[in-house]
């Protein structure tokens, strides 16, 4: 390695927030060295301090945050000693940042042109017209269509993906040495995310900019970075080159993290996920010594909790360091965590069958005194047909606007189907609103919700909320019986019984989701709809909740409709998959069938877009152009025709494609000939050298 000045170097950086409760250390003893052209990933769960690091580098700590120790050297100069004016000159020109929420990061009241032009005006002293010209150039470079129009637009007039491109363009305008990317794709749909990731990779190649890429998603880091820092609870626990950390991790937390995410090859029966036990400590309740200690299976009292731990270099690789006292003692090859294998379950008879289910909304404009408002129709669901069998898990996959939530509403009886049939057993549900359904029907069909913060009513105790379901469905009536069942359910979801008296506010997100699961299963349902039940949870908690959900399902032989956008999770747990796009089913089949050719072009793109945190797999590279159209104004013909790489002009954009059937139950809605579809290559394949 040549002797170069690092672009950025953090030495023993300590950052604290000051609150009424006193000083709360957010980041402790953080070290980082970033060479020119290098891309460094920081990965960790919420609250681990990764964004704090980014803002500290920008010297933007807010009123109650402060750097309490260490140094941040930018090109060799300590930024802590710089004056406000010097900082200002560096910000936006030498160091630029891309943020998590592009919409919120752009000023809603200024045109994009004005916002972009500011950067060259203030940093390079350009005139306004020169600045605008440069902005237009940059917009073209981040591959935005019609940059001239976008310059004149306000942020809300363009889509989320375009907004993020604008933010990236803004960051690149002064050709910075260092680019900070703070979860730049988290708010975006998967197929849009893929486009942004591609752009970022191109930028680092083209401009040679050093990057710090902050994310909770290991797969994304793998796709973008050279080096990686894993953070846990305010500390970096492992640093190293990507391959080293991915393949030869030396910290129990890193390994726990990998064990928690469903990688290709994970299987709910044969190789279940291995969740990290326990939960993240709150910043002011961190244990002495190793922060991960209480959750670590290698924890050794007296050693791990004796002192604040330093980073240790991994022998043989100076650039690979871990914050673990025992990493040398652990046999990393043998002690690979393995979940308990479970026998596969045999699916029973069809429980739920949906036939040509269609749901249209009429959006009326105007009200009591409306002077004639136009009515628009939103086609939320078009002719959905599929079925689910007892003890089977059917995943419904799709991005925003695909109609999966509407489908859930129709199923639950909150909306009437416009057309078609929904049969639960032999009860027609399509036009049976929940008020008219029998108690049994309602009890048979329950739901687990996405957002842990919303799923429970903050005003009532856990016990009361579960008890209400029990009473409502007539499972039990007397106070004692109800309590008994509540306790039993809490046992089932592995929560202590005294949680019955707690209010939701006293629970963590994962615990709330467990309560939500307990509530859904309180009435012994035959079908449970799980609407992204783990997507809002931290990675290490996700696994535990997923496993729990599946165990209960397995035990009760419940049919589960698992709504998700995350194909990795779906691949892991689903028996069958339904892929939706703009209200239509594009493809359905068993998990095996959907994940291998023939693919629907959309499925293919979706599969390609999902980042996989596994160095052993190879992925084909497909990036879709454009954005998802609005469901109120869907394209003619095939809904996917606007973005489809295989689009046949004159056919796809005019005519609705036929439903092609492969094998037993594998259906694809596409104009492409079956042979063309069958001729597709698999998207994900094992790398030759890593193949077993």
């Amino acid at each position: 390695m040549t002797e170069q000045t690092p672009v950025l170097e953090c030495r023993n950086l300590c950052i604290s927030y000051y609150t009424r409760a006193g000083e709360i250390p957010a980041v402790v003893d953080f070290n980082l060295k970033l060479m020119p052209g290098e891309a460094h990933g920081i990965v960790g769960e919420s609250g681990c301090g990764k964004s704090t690091v980014a803002l500290a580098i920008m010297q933007y700590m807010g009123r109650n945050g402060a750097i309490v120790g260490g140094e941040i050297l930018f090109e060799g100069r300590d930024m802590r000693t710089m004056s406000e004016e010097e900082l200002r000159q560096i910000r936006g020109s030498k160091i630029a940042m891309v943020y998590q929420e592009p919409m919120a990061s752009l000023n809603p009241a200024m045109t994009i042109g004005d916002q972009l032009a500011e950067v060259p005006i203030y940093h390079d002293g350009l005139s306004e017209s020169e600045a605008l010209a440069r902005a237009e150039e940059m917009l073209a470079k981040v591959r935005l269509p019609d940059p001239r129009r976008i310059l004149r637009s306000y942020p809300h007039q363009i889509s989320g993906g375009q907004q993020q491109r604008v933010v990236i363009a803004m960051a690149l305008l002064s050709n910075p040495r260092l680019l900070l990317l703070d979860e730049p794709t988290t708010a975006l749909d998967v197929t849009v995310e893929a486009g942004i990731v591609e752009l970022i990779n191109e930028i680092s190649a083209e401009f040679g900019t050093s990057m710090i890429y902050i994310s909770h998603n290991l797969g994304l880091i793998l796709e973008t970075c050279h080096r990686l820092t894993v953070m846990y609870s305010g500390e970096a626990v492992e640093v190293g080159d990507i391959e080293d950390v991915f393949d030869e991790m030396r910290h129990p937390y890193t390994r726990g993290l990998f064990g928690s995410i469903p990688l290709p090859g994970a299987d709910k029966n044969a190789h279940p996920l291995m969740a990290i036990p326990g939960q993240l400590p709150l910043p002011h309740e961190r244990p002495p010594g190793c922060n991960f200690g209480p959750r670590c299976s290698f924890f050794k009292g007296g050693l791990c909790d004796a002192r604040a731990l330093p980073m240790h270099p991994v022998p043989g690789d100076d650039d690979h360091r871990v914050r673990c006292e025992r990493f040398a003692e652990i046999d990393w090859d043998r002690d690979l965590p393995k979940g308990e294998a479970k026998p596969p379950i045999k699916a029973g008879p069809v429980v739920l069958s949906v036939r040509d289910m269609t749901k249209h909304y009429a959006i009326e404009t105007g009200g009591l005194l409306a002077m004639g408002g136009a009515t628009r129709t939103v086609k939320a669901n078009e002719k959905l047909t599929f079925s689910a069998r007892e003890a089977e898990t059917v995943a419904i996959v799709g991005e925003s606007g695909c109609g999966k939530s509407t489908f859930a509403k129709v199923l639950m009886g909150l909306e009437d189907a416009t057309d078609g049939q929904v049969l639960l057993g032999d009860t027609e549900l399509g036009d049976l609103p929940v008020q008219k359904r029998s108690k049994d029907t309602i009890a048979n069909l329950q739901m687990v919700f996405q957002n842990p913060f919303d799923t429970l009513n903050p005003s009532h105790t856990i016990g009361a909320q579960i008890g209400r379901v029990i009473r409502k469905f007539g499972v039990a009536r007397s106070e004692e019986e109800v309590n008994e069942i509540v306790y039993r359910l809490l046992d089932t979801v592995k929560l202590p019984r005294d949680f019955a008296k707690r209010k939701p506010r006293q629970l963590s997100g994962g615990q709330k989701q467990r309560v939500g699961i307990a509530r859904a299963f309180a009435g012994n349902p035959s079908v449970v709809i799980a609407d992204e039940p783990v997507s809002a949870l931290d990675v290490s908690v996700q696994a535990a909740v997923t496993e729990l959900l599946m165990d209960i399902q397995r035990e009760n032989r419940t049919t589960m409709l698992f709504i998700s956008h995350d194909l990795s999770v779906v691949r892991y747990l689903a028996d069958r998959i339904v892929v939706m796009y703009l209200g239509r089913i594009m493809e359905q089949g068993t998990t095996e069938e959907v994940f291998s050719p023939p693919y629907h072009p959309y499925t293919e793109a979706l599969l390609a877009a999902v980042p996989i945190a596994d160095t052993r797999v190879k992925k084909r590279h497909i990036v879709l152009k454009g954005e998802i159209p609005s469901p109120s104004n869907p394209p003619k013909g095939c809904p996917f025709s606007t973005r489809c790489p295989y689009m046949i002009p004159g056919t796809c954009d005019v005519e609705l494609p036929p439903n092609r059937t492969f094998g037993q139950d594998h259906r694809i809605l596409c104009h492409l000939q079956p042979s063309e579809l069958e001729g597709m290559e698999p998207v994900i394949s094992p790398r030759a050298e890593a193949a077993e």
Partner: protein
């Protein structure tokens, strides 16, 4: 579009350790006070001791309140001001005060003695003790102000829940009526209503309800619209719960937090309204003391520097009570935002 200062969030009151004990204490303080003021002479001899249990209840409530609000100095100051007057209201009959309606010696300036009586705050134009009138004066404004705000809230919250949760025609009709009422400047509404019904405490309740309920309805409606998209409401709906159950059990407790902040502010507004209306001759009627009346009666006699205490005393008293309500609202909001 509605500019509201209220943010949804858990209420600081929720952190009080014993909500049930608190409600009991509140009732113990409030019911005697209310019956004392509204019942008037109908209470008969009971009037002499009915307020006795309210005094310890008030003190205890204050202590509990300070404990709950200790994080916010502003809230504690507000609470202290409000409870000072609450305590004055419940303890007035037992304090060593002169009869507030008894003329003794007119135009005695503060801190001076006349007819062997020392007057801390002087006497008014009729010779009634200002100190005693000031302290007694808080009873009616507090009781009617709180009652009016409470009734307005019950009405406003009910319609807000219905309008927000049921939507559709319910919403159209309720919102239209609310819009009609909101199109009147508040004072115009007050003047018209009180002029029609005649000035009295009960009619103030009616007028305040008409004037405030639409705004409350809007706030509750907005909160309801927000909360009804939450999954737990969805869960209740999918359980087949009756809309009434959802409104009362699932929604109402969760709009409580922001509403309590708004209620504190609105108590302030109502106090202003009652005082102002009384000053205009449309509110509470003499002879019993009330701050608005004190201002009304003194306004024509005290227009001299040396008599200005007659105006200053009630003006400062009413300002301090309203300041108390507003500071409490501020503190509560501050605390709820911190959560």
């Amino acid at each position: 579009m509605a500019v509201t200062e209220i943010e949804a969030g858990p209420s600081a009151l929720e952190r009080l350790s014993h909500p049930r004990a608190l409600i009991a204490l509140g009732l113990l303080m409030w019911l005697p006070l209310m019956s004392y003021v509204m019942g008037g002479t109908a209470l008969g001899p009971a009037a002499d001791y009915i307020l006795l249990p309210a005094i310890p209840a008030t003190l205890l409530l204050y202590v509990l309140g300070v404990r709950a609000f200790r994080e916010s100095r502003v809230a504690v100051i507000g609470l202290t001001l409000v409870f000072f007057w609450l305590l004055a209201a419940v303890a007035a009959p037992y304090l060593p005060l002169l009869d507030p309606n008894k003329p003794i010696a007119p135009f005695v300036t503060p801190l001076s003695e006349k007819r062997d009586v020392f007057f801390w705050l002087g006497t008014d134009f009729k010779g009634r003790d200002m100190l005693s009138r000031m302290i007694w004066g808080c009873q009616r404004v507090i009781v009617w102000g709180v009652s009016a705000t409470f009734v307005a809230y019950v009405v406003g919250a009910l319609f807000g829940l219905i309008s927000g949760y049921l939507s559709g025609w319910w919403d159209e009709i309720i919102s239209f009526v609310a819009n009609v009422l909101l199109s009147f400047p508040v004072m115009v509404l007050f003047i018209v209503i009180l002029n029609y019904l005649g000035p009295s405490g009960f009619n103030i309740v009616v007028a305040v309800t008409f004037a405030s309920a639409p705004a409350i309805m809007r706030i509750v409606r907005g909160l309801t619209l927000d909360i009804k998209t939450r999954d737990y409401v969805f869960a209740a709906q999918t359980r087949g719960e009756h809309p009434l159950y959802i409104m009362i059990v699932e929604l109402l407790p969760n709009v409580r937090g922001p509403i309590i902040v708004d209620a504190c502010l609105r108590l302030g507004y109502t106090t202003v309204a009652i005082t102002t209306l009384t000053f205009l001759g449309l509110g509470l009627q003499p002879p019993d003391p009330d701050w608005g009346l004190m201002i009304r009666e003194s306004a024509k006699t005290a227009m001299l520097w040396k008599f200005s205490y007659m105006l200053l005393v009630p003006a400062l008293a009413v300002s301090s009570l309203i300041l108390g309500f507003n500071l409490m609202a501020d503190g509560l909001r501050e605390m709820s935002l911190r959560d």
